[in-house]
């Protein structure tokens, strides 16, 4: 092998070794950077979890603080209408549930009329099992708490308020209506300002959580409607069938 060829092969070897060193160095830098990213992500996850846990009410305090709205039944219902009405209608709903919105838009006016004329005593069961579907803002609980507050302090406006909440029902999975939007709807429905101001205290949140817990073992979904304690299995989403069933129950 001539000197020239030896030099050439040495240069090739050196170039290869240099390339391998560069690759190792690059991989070391990438490993280190990856390690930093991993640590950063773990820290971010812990911080996010701690923040989320901070928003959570203390379960012990919740159990002690269950205050039912005035007039509420032991079964977690808000009764509306004359106690002497011949027909009792139980409606289980979640203000986030799109089908409850459809039910309300189809039958709300009829139910309001039957309550007003003294035929129906409506047992409203506001539930909050769809809290998971409002991007962390717990819209179901906030809406149900507002309704319970109205039931407690201004029961005359509760049907108008419920109708308004469903007329402006937010999309499932979104953040829901803001507290201000709920307050505005309440004022428009005739709830006075001092009652609206009580929404923010979330005084009935533990009561809603407790009645949701109990009710979830008794029904399979929302909306659920019972006439004189019996499950109504007819069409919930067109006006007519429910009214007919109520009229039939009244005749019996």
């Amino acid at each position: 092998m001539g000197r020239q060829a030896r030099t050439a092969s040495r240069e090739v070897r050196q170039a290869r070794a240099a390339a391998a060193r560069r690759a190792r160095k690059r991989n070391r830098i990438l490993s280190a950077a990856g390690g930093v990213v991993i640590v950063g992500l773990v820290v971010a996850i812990v911080v996010a979890l701690v923040n989320a846990a901070g928003d959570r009410p203390d379960p012990a305090a919740v159990a002690a603080d269950v205050v039912a709205p005035a007039g509420a039944t032991a079964a977690g219902a808000i009764p509306i209408g004359a106690a002497t009405a011949p027909v009792t209608v139980d409606v289980y709903l979640d203000y986030m549930c799109p089908f409850c919105g459809r039910f309300e838009r189809a039958n709300g006016a009829e139910i309001d009329r039957l309550v007003a004329e003294g035929t129906v005593r409506l047992n409203l069961h506001p539930l909050a099992f769809l809290d998971r579907a409002s991007a962390g803002t717990r819209y179901s609980t906030r809406a149900a708490n507002a309704v319970a507050t109205v039931a407690d302090a201004a029961p005359g406006t509760i049907l108008a308020f419920t109708t308004a909440l469903f007329a402006d029902q937010p999309e499932e999975g979104g953040p829901g209506l803001s507290d201000e939007q709920i307050a505005t709807l309440a004022r428009q429905a005739g709830v006075t300002g001092d009652v609206v101001d009580r929404f923010a205290a979330r005084a009935f949140q533990p009561w809603i959580a407790a009645s949701t817990e109990t009710t979830m073992t008794q029904i399979t979904g929302t909306p659920t409607v019972k006439i004189n304690g019996k499950l109504f299995t007819g069409d919930l989403y067109t006006a007519g069938p429910l009214t007919q069933a109520i009229t039939a129950a009244k005749a019996r």
Partner: protein, 207 residues
């Protein structure tokens, strides 16, 4: 001492037992989750009352979500795809654990098909995070286990040079795997998914 341990861990990490064992466990988890989701979708389809109410115990939140177009992109519930694909992965994993060597073209095809599958899984993950917004634990399990199957399949295909790559790219990937960059990448990937879930659903998870 630490260096020895690290070398041992590396040896195990690149061995068939670890790679195909992880693949097998992940594919089984994915299959189980798909089965739950498929059964739920069938119940939902068979019971008109269930599709017309917000079912309290349903894993697919309200009927609107279960019957959303994203939930049945190809005209049938997405979970059926998992029921079809995961048994194949399980077969590959079990056969490989038993010492079977599949031809290069076979592993390459499996890589292509599973890459499409993982893309679909992440499209669904994105949709459920930002369009549907419902927390679905079984869907999350599918996302994570699909990722692990994809990672192990890619790992073994890089190790065995099954991907028909140019020499330069293959060498670079070999070096990266030798430097454990693949494990770091998978860790970052899964932690990023976990962070997204915690940020979006932290309140629901703990509240």
């Amino acid at each position: 001492m630490i260096a020895t341990t690290l070398r041992r861990v590396r040896q195990v990490r690149h061995a068939d037992g670890w790679i195909f064992g992880t693949m097998l466990v992940s594919a089984c988890l994915s299959l189980a989750a798909s089965l739950v989701l498929a059964a739920d979708a069938v119940t939902l389809a068979a019971d008109p009352a269930a599709t017309l109410s917000c079912n309290i115990n349903s894993v697919i939140s309200c009927g609107t979500v279960g019957s959303s177009w994203q939930a049945r992109l190809l005209g049938f519930p997405n979970a059926f795809l998992g029921l079809m694909a995961e048994p194949v992965v399980i077969t590959i994993a079990v056969a490989s654990l038993g010492g079977v060597r599949f031809p290069r073209w076979f592993m390459f095809s499996a890589q292509i098909v599973y890459t499409i599958g993982v893309g679909f899984a992440y499209w669904l993950f994105y949709q459920s995070m930002f369009s549907i917004g419902a927390l679905c634990p079984w869907c999350l399990l599918v996302t994570v286990s699909t990722t692990l199957v994809f990672a192990t399949l890619t790992h073994v295909n890089i190790r065995d040079g099954n991907l028909y790559l140019p020499t330069r790219v293959q060498t670079a990937l070999d070096n990266a795997v030798a430097a454990d960059l693949d494990a770091i990448a998978v860790a970052i990937w899964l932690l990023a998914v976990a962070l997204a879930v915690v940020l979006k659903y932290g309140n629901a998870l703990l509240g």
